[in-house]
Every structure is written in C-alpha cells, then in structure tokens.
Amino acid sequence: MEKSRYQKLVKKYKPKENRLFNGMMAFLVGGIMGMIGQFLVEFYATNLEISTKEAGTFMIITLIFIGCLLTCFKFFDKWVHFAKAGLFVPITGFAHAMMSAALDYKKEGMVTGLGASMFKLTGSVIIFGVVSAYVFGLIRILLFGGTI
C-alpha cells in the first residue's frame, strides 16, 4: 500500500477527540485547582498566622500530598481521563508522575528500581527547569545587571 494512502486510512479511523469539550474541561478543572490554591493560601495565612509567602509553600506541599494520595488510591488516573490538562498542568501532575513512577518500579527492587527510577518522568521537568533558569539568569545578570 502506498504511504500516503495508508496515512489517509489511519487518519480516517483514528478516534476523533472533541477538542472544544476537552478545552472546556481543562479550563474548568484548572480554574478550580487555582481557586483551591488561593483558598489554601488564605486558610494557612489566617489560621497559622504566617506570611503569604510561607503559606504558598504550605499550599504546594498540601497539593503534592493530595496528588500522591489520590494516585495511590487509583482515583487520579480516572480523573485525568476527563480533566486532561486541567489536572496535570497544576502541581498535582508533578506529584502524580513521581508517585506512579515510584509505584511502578518498586517491584524491581529498592535500590535498582525505586531509587533509580523515581525521577523517570519528573526528571525532564527539573533538568530543563534548572538549565533554562541558569541560562536566563546568566543572560539577565550579564546583559542587564542584577537588579532591575
């Protein structure tokens, strides 16, 4: 079969995704996640009497814990199926990726499995984040001076 004809056939039988619905769900769920974040920041800031900056750290840790726990109880994978980007773009996606890698590679042993492969999915986020932050930081300091 010709290559172009084959690709046409593949395109025909690929399941069509409803992009509008996906976008709406992502917007809605992501927005609600943002509101939960803001609520937690205010909650911690008033109840523990700490600054908003510290409360932000507490909020991130809380969301990571919730994300890990939901992954363990297998809810997260079901919900991601509906919410898609609404759940993995927030910090819960980071927690989910790390938790599922830890769970999946546990059977290969503690050191060679869990220890070696925990960053299998989240590693790229940290590596590219650090490298890009370093390069941008260098550019800013060398070309524009430290403080603007």
């Binding site: 992501g30 920041v41 297998k74 993995f88 790229s124 370093y134 930081g137």
Partner: protein
C-alpha cells in the same frame, strides 16, 4: 475578586496546555517541560511576579510557578554573591516542593501497591 483572577489564570494556563496537547503530537511530558521553561523565561524580567500579585495562589498552582521559583531564588542569591549565587540559590524556594514530593512518594510507595 482574587478568586476570580485565580480561576481565570490557572484555567487559561491549563487551556493552553490542552490546546497544545490536542493539536500537536507532543505528550504530557513535553507540555509540562515547555511550561516550566516558559515560567523561567517570564520571571527573567519579573513579569511572573505581577501574575502572582494579580492571581495569588492561582499563579502558584500551575507548573509554570516551578520555573518562576527556580530563577527567583537564583537571582535573589546572585544579587548577594555575584555569578556563583546563581548556583547557590537555584533550589532555595523549590526545594520544599521537590523534597516533600520525594519523601511523600517514597513512604507511600512502601505502603501501596501498583494496580495490575
């Protein structure tokens, strides 16, 4: 009012992520990586700080805040110690998130088993 701002900002970031995911062949890993780089880029000239002031927790929840916090800590230390400060302060603000993610997922993975 800040709740509306938080809803709009976090929702828009997720919507952009979903649009990239639907219209290209990139995977979820690519999207989160792109967003981290984008967050670091936006904070190079303190643009992301304005988002944090405007949307509060809504700007801290998406993964873009990870890149923002990385370069924020690095520049803070760099003001004090010069170029070497970039390396000294890179994880100042994000370490709490990374460390807690590692510790929590380590202990929970001891308790729970993966699904078959």
């Amino acid at each position: 009012m800040i709740y509306v701002h938080a809803f709009l900002f976090a929702g828009l970031v997720c919507l952009i992520g979903q649009m990239i995911l639907d219209n290209t062949t990139l995977t979820a890993g690519h999207v989160t990586t792109i967003f981290v780089i984008l967050g670091a880029f936006l904070d190079t000239f303190s643009i992301y700080d304005k988002f944090v002031l405007w949307a509060g927790g809504g700007a801290l929840v998406p993964i873009t805040s990870f890149g923002h916090l990385l370069i924020h800590g690095a520049l803070e230390k760099a003001n004090e110690f010069g170029l070497i400060g970039l390396a000294m302060g890179m994880f100042d603000l994000t370490s709490s998130g990374i460390i807690s993610a590692i510790v929590i997922s380590f202990f929970l993975s001891l308790i729970f088993n993966p699904k078959d």
